[in-house]
Point group: C2
Chain length 248, copies 2
């Protein structure tokens, strides 16, 4: 039986050990207003102290409601959070591409545009980690916030939210992440918000076409109606995990 | 004995097989004006045809000489190349960060700034791959251009040039890449240019403090004066290859 309190304590110990063994100082976390980044931030705040957490709210044509939730998380766990608004950088970037391909229609750009945002966010997190390391005289790293369900179906952007230095939720299903969040006191309005990417206007489950609980069951080897669909998503996204290499 | 002609043929076959097995169409390659991207582009042009190669020259406060070399490569192998100038996006981005941290001194930003460029380039390559896939009705992917010497000492940007969908030079030393380049006819002025990142103003070897030939010897198990230094670089950068994951 999964015990949120016990697992949260083990994750906190895992983080502390890693920081001590590698002589690290802090962490830069993108706070989205959703539960995954909130749980990760809470675990790090307890493991290495809120004074060593730099939260970043990175809007990019984002909702004000998400910002409120992001700041609520920072307030609850007592860490600093700053705004890095990527809207202008994003717009400037898309304009530049349009100048390169003047004949391209907007509907050709939709898929391409969606993945730009997590990639700009990744670059921003690492930029801030380098900056904080320089300012504070100790190494800051970037944690991943993906959970086991997202990873199983490849629901992440390669070169975006998939790039990280340490993963603490990667082996937990969505339900287990919520259990850990409860144990460390993540505010309810964040913990129980239906997860969405803040990019497409759809919830994750609408976008994927399957339920996170069903993905969890498939991971645990159980049968569900959508099993075939979930396994297809899984297989179609395996290429995100391993790159073919020519050997001489 | 390494045979450039033989290895180039085997790489071309490796690419063709992968494209056939995965029903892929094209490739988007960042052409830097240096030898690695030129050799990769040449191998792909021979494997899948120059009409399926989209080269991209992505200046970001870059040298005009590098642009000339990039266009020479495209001309020689007969593929299309476009400019996506990232200078304004980069400047806009750095300005935004400065507004976030008004007290930060420019010397705190140097290290952070250097890694932004490869990350913006990665995002741009994947953006263009999505765009071309949509326009051409078949999947375009992004090849890596790192060679074995660079990988051994971790000389790449995590979340930048390290993100790719297929690697064809990852098992070849710098000297071997040059042999392959000779075999497929990469123009001399590109093939024999001292490699630099186009970012720091230094050549790679100046920046690393060791010679690529010495790295190759260490990879092959031979002794060189700088062996200890090379092994230290290797060990200090292993974290770029594997991320610690908490297991429940």
């Amino acid at each position: 039986m999964f015990n949120g309190k016990n697992i949260s304590e083990r994750i906190i110990e895992f983080i502390r050990d890693y920081y001590q063994n590698n002589n690290l100082k802090g962490v830069v976390i993108g706070i989205s207003g959703g539960k995954d980044s909130a749980v990760v931030a809470g675990l790090f705040a307890k493991a290495i102290g809120p004074e060593n957490i730099q939260g970043i709210w990175m809007p990019c044509h984002s909702k004000e409601q998400d910002k409120e939730n992001a700041y609520k998380v920072a307030e609850y766990f007592g860490f600093n959070i700053v705004d890095v608004d990527l809207t202008k950088t994003y717009d400037n970037y898309v304009e530049q591409i349009k100048r390169t391909y003047p004949d391209v229609q907007d509907n050709n750009l939709i898929d391409a545009n969606i993945n730009i945002k997590p990639r700009l966010r990744m670059a921003t997190l690492y930029y801030n980690a380098a900056l904080m390391s320089s300012l504070k005289g100790g190494t800051y790293i970037v944690p991943g916030t993906s959970n086991a369900c997202e990873l199983f179906v490849g629901y992440f952007t390669k070169g975006g939210d998939s790039v990280s230095d340490i993963q603490v939720l990667a082996d937990l299903t969505v339900e287990e992440v919520i259990e850990v969040g409860k144990a460390i006191g993540v505010p309810d309005q964040v913990l129980y918000k239906a997860p969405d990417d803040g990019l497409s206007g759809l919830t994750d489950e609408e976008k994927l076409g399957v339920k996170y609980n069903d993905i969890a069951k498939v991971i645990e080897g159980k049968d569900v109606i959508d099993k075939e669909k979930i396994m297809r998503l899984h297989k179609n996204n395996l290429h995100k995990f391993s790159v073919p290499v020519f050997r001489k």
